[in-house]
Assembly symmetry: D2
């Protein structure tokens, strides 16, 4: 590290107020110190989107580092209702597999941050994301969309910062010089990001895409090899393409509240090892990245939603909606939640869900959510017509004409 | 039944030669008898696409019914190479879930049939499909595409037939009058269609979409609740987007031949209960239909192909190819294999697979094929670039510009 | 003609009431006679969608043929507002060129017909379209959509009719036997269909796709070779993607009413020979058909709408909307106006037009509508940003990063 | 201007060799001087893509500025065959209207430049594009694609350059100090870029999107108000979707060579004022830009190609190809010619043109290319089938079944 010892030149924050996305970890603690050193007043901000954090400890650390204030916003329910539900309606999957747990949380976190910006009359925001990931893009695009005049301080993209701190050792030393105590636990050989929707693991030993992820890594889901030998059976009720009730058919437990039913599905899905994927995905900025994810509730919900949607939605309409869903996932993954195109696509998808309602039965067992039956008051399924014994709305002869005409080409 | 007893007016087939798709069952046996009664010569034809049939018994029955000849064509390898492989390349799934085991077999079966038509100088083909299913469409469209002048006799769409035979009882009686012995086994409470790719179950008790499919119904796959408690680990090698080798990492078994490796994956997948789905789908002719499928090998292969494809294919190209894959699945499901558009789409998808090669590790366990790692000589994955510690081809500052420019809108 | 002289067996219409789409021409007059002969009561119906017809004469003929009643519905304004406007919003063009004047009129005509069905408590509808065109499909699909239980009598698809009347001579004779006087004017060597949106010409000498359409054929537009040597200049104001005012910049004429401004644009466009196209298109049922169309107002409006839309709509949103527009055109052309998918697509496109407003200047001259300028209160066009002399929201350096990052692949 | 007088510190180019895209104008002459001042050896390069330039004069200026060498590459035929033809096959139009004359030239120019880089063993390229336009992106992306290791010196994005030269006055003075004589002609009140495909006009007085472009501005096309009162009639022959012959039906002139026929169509189209458009488009980097273009030959060719394509291509295949064409245009406009996705899309589109051949008659008159007829040996147009008098491959009854089945939904 080339710099002289920082003397916490807390000169009163004459450069203005920064809201810093703060986790309490080494990176953002050092950024906090550094921002103060640069002459900013810092409001440390944590969004509670269901990650496994001790906010009291984070607060303590923030204040110890010199933050003017620490704000934690409980966004758990907002996250489920405003971000996850639209993605369930869209059957949102990036590149066919990734359910976008991080991508969906970003606009929620940033929205909360911009509220803090307003409450604290801040002029700047800052974050600890590097210049290679998707997060910086998602967060910064959302921030610019919500407040076009905001100024973003992204130290890992500023030469004065990244040329000074070359790695964890430099950061560690910098913290020490500033009398900041650090977790003594050795960092895991991968990086990890979590919220109530999922935990993602990447980097470290996972960077080699052929390395098998260690079983001990996972925190939300049991290893299917060791999960219960007895399945659970649930019934999920949908209205407007969104779950409104989950019922455990074994013990009768029922959940109606959005957040509660989501957490309950996480619990059940996690117990049965559901929602793990291991993929190589294309990041926004082109490069490929290997990620391992666990995402129990959403995995179950998308299986169930795909099912009830097909029961209640017209075939040709489904095709139009499917294209929109692809666009939705690409846009969300790339950080364009707050954009005219994503707002438009969300509006259209929402409209398509008007009649998507009914009940889906799902068996949860050893890593798989398996749909076993469904029924709906708005079913377009016509049992009589489909039957081979009963004549329905059209005659066998009609089918002959249909084919003959289609073969004319 | 309104008709007089058929006297097998085998008048020498003065109306010409019909090739009949013949299964040996009640329906097609009656159609065989009826065609002869109408004055046709009948060549009974069975395509061997890996279904579980006793072709000797079928032959005996055909000749007993009065067929001039019985022809069975072994199309198993053709089916895998010419029909299933292109669908693996396309990640072919109809409405996100159905792997199209029946749809893919139809063009193969029909192509074999048209060869028999040619060999036997026939003018007609006939089949036992009804006017409500997809099969009639797929088979007839393929037949017209291959031989625009062919004439199709589809008794279940001809008033003179369907007004005479109102159900199984009438057919049974008609067969009896013609001295055709019938299987005494009671028919299952569903209908079923199988080949080496899958078995589909529909109708009967399955018509009610909330009825859970009975465990005893399945023939290719074990019930995941009862499948082995030990997983299998395999490595699949792809070249040009198609599997060229499967290796069992436990016992070292290797398969290189297309048909052999496919059957081997069926065996392993079936053992672990992989490939069952239960869906409501939109048939070509609009109505909705509930189907239960088991499709072990293709389920494993599509998981693995999705994975290796993403490792080796450029992101923007993947998006173009993904749209083509949607078209592929719609076209194949609707029976347009032999059409200019599907030939075009297959050509394009094939081209996209030029560099899709490498090795995928898959864990098979309790109903799920779970990808755990992969590597490829043509990987576009750049471990160094993705790493957070090493500077790659672009500077952190570049990312800043990228976002700023994208936010201009 | 194989039948015995029809004796107008007007037996009181014991078979029920038919609403017949009636034009007063040879075909539909014969159908009217024939329906009565078959025992139906007939209500003759004409939709006034702006075609050049003498409804009094048509009425006289209908009653003379034995119709119980004649109903003409003025649907001109409905047609403009409910059918043409959505297509302008969609930039609706089938296969890149055809503005769908007939396709858009069909749902309007059929909707009016179904109102007559209701008013007259009819059980049947009938029409004179043949089994090869798009019209039968569009009309019948719309009718089934609006009244799933309606029964359609389409004589040109009924063997008892088409085997009796083999061509115009048979029809002529049948009319004569029924004492129906016929137009003595020789029919044109093409067929023609018109409404306020367009006139289409096809068949006859036009069937050979290399035959040049004769100049004398056109009725709505002047030959550009002979149109005025002086252009007209107009300004069109849009709100929500729909024209709300047209102003002639030469003489100051202004039109605000939807129907009036549409007819005024027809007049101006027609005067300058605007809106002629000569194409080979793919009919719904696969075959190719050569059509010549003249469509003045819509040609001008789509040019202008494309322009103002691009000024006011975000780029990424435009792409999503463009895909929807393709679907819109395919669906409308194929007769699916009254379908879940087209209703959905129309809803989405309508939503996309929220901010599409402003003024477009168009020069009308010798067969071309040429946009020369535009301005909008909701313009996303940022004159300062685009300028090369003024620094806008981003720095030149940002562009460097943007490109570098995009080139990483 | 903040800098001290440049003393042409031609220190022998110790920093290496730069190939500079050089036009002979003020900007690139100053960049040439500045690069030498910075210590580079400069090879000045001009691509001859048919723009109206005096290459001898440009050469003289380059050498006078101190260039080590001047290279002009005649790329006219390459441009037509390798870049314009694929776009004709694609009916390439960005945002429905812009034929991409600049976008298509960029990869051609850059390819030539990279050949010079190789011939001259250069390590750098440089250009005079600013950080706001599409050109920088197209050129730099193409350069990186062809030579991932190339280093690009883009002075208008380098603070040391753009902070020194704030506008034309600074540049003018800098040139003067370096004893470079300058054109005394006042610059036009717009900027302009031309090649054999088109001339584009933007900026200056055109920045206000409601300003009507002055008639005097246009250089390739006559004002339709003053163009000949006599039309020209031509016949264009296509093979594989590409024009292979143009015949003037009036005077019998024939052109078979790609470049010659293209230039001939420019001449005829220009004479009749064909190919002018005035639009607001979305630049890659989001902002909107008003552009006026004249593009005679391509306008005629796309009209004709759309026509012959529809005559010879299956309907369903056309839809797939149409989507690919949209992607083609977006990719080309955004500078991704040399990318896996555009190479893939070009391959697919090329494949789709296998049977696109035949003759199209086009009338050229007063700003419009109007197709009047066509014929093709590979026509899918079936005159008999389409006829209303002759029964074709299917019966009227078949149409009834077709509709009934389609209405089941």
């Amino acid at each position: 590290m080339s710099s002289s010892p920082a003397k916490k030149q807390n000169t009163g924050g004459q450069k203005g107020v920064v809201v810093l996305a703060y986790s309490g970890g080494l990176d953002t603690s050092c950024i906090l110190l550094w921002l103060i050193e640069q002459g900013y007043e810092v409001v440390a901000y944590t969004a509670d989107v269901g990650q496994d954090d001790d906010f009291e400890a984070v607060k303590k650390k923030a204040l110890q580092c010199g933050a003017k204030k620490y704000v934690v916003k409980d966004l758990k329910k907002d996250f489920v209702v405003e971000n996850i539900w639209p993605s369930i309606q869209a059957n949102g999957r990036y590149e066919d597999r990734y359910l976008m747990g991080t991508s969906l949380a970003r606009p929620c976190i940033t929205k909360g941050m911009m509220e803090v910006v307003k409450e604290e009359s801040a002029q700047f925001i800052s974050h600890g994301a590097t210049g290679k990931g998707n997060d910086q893009i998602r967060m910064e695009l959302a921030a610019y969309a919500l407040r076009p005049d905001i100024e973003i301080i992204a130290p890992w993209k500023m030469p004065e910062f990244y040329n000074r701190f070359h790695g964890r050792t430099d950061l560690f030393e910098y913290a020490k010089m500033n009398n900041i105590s650090l977790p003594v636990t050795p960092s895991a050989p991968w990086s990890m990001d979590g919220n109530l929707m999922h935990i993602s693991y990447e980097a470290g030993i996972l960077e080699d895409p052929k390395t098998v992820a260690p079983s001990s890594m996972f925190q939300m889901t049991a290893d299917p090899l060791k999960s219960p030998d007895e399945p659970d059976q649930i019934e999920i009720e949908f209205k407007h393409g969104v779950p409104v009730k989950v019922k455990n058919l074994k013990d009768g437990t029922e959940k109606n509240d959005a957040l509660e039913l989501y957490l309950y599905l996480n619990e059940l899905g996690g117990k049965h090892g559901i929602g793990r994927i291991d993929i190589v995905e294309n990041r926004y900025i082109g490069m490929k990245s290997r990620g391992v994810y666990e995402c129990p509730a959403a995995t179950i919900l998308i299986e169930a939603h795909l099912d009830i949607e097909n029961v209640t939605m017209d075939k040709a309409m489904r095709r139009v909606k499917q294209e929109l869903s692809l666009r939705f996932s690409e846009q969300v993954y790339e950080g364009y939640w707050y954009s005219p195109e994503n707002e438009f696509v969300r509006h259209c998808i929402h409209k398509s869900q008007e009649h998507v309602e009914g009940f889906v039965n799902v068996l949860l067992f050893k890593g798989r959510a398996h749909v076993t039956g469904r029924h709906s008051p708005k079913s377009l399924y016509n049992e009589e017509l489909v039957s081979m014994d009963v004549k329905g709305d059209y005659e066998p002869l009609d089918a002959k004409g249909f084919i003959k005409v289609n073969a004319v080409r």
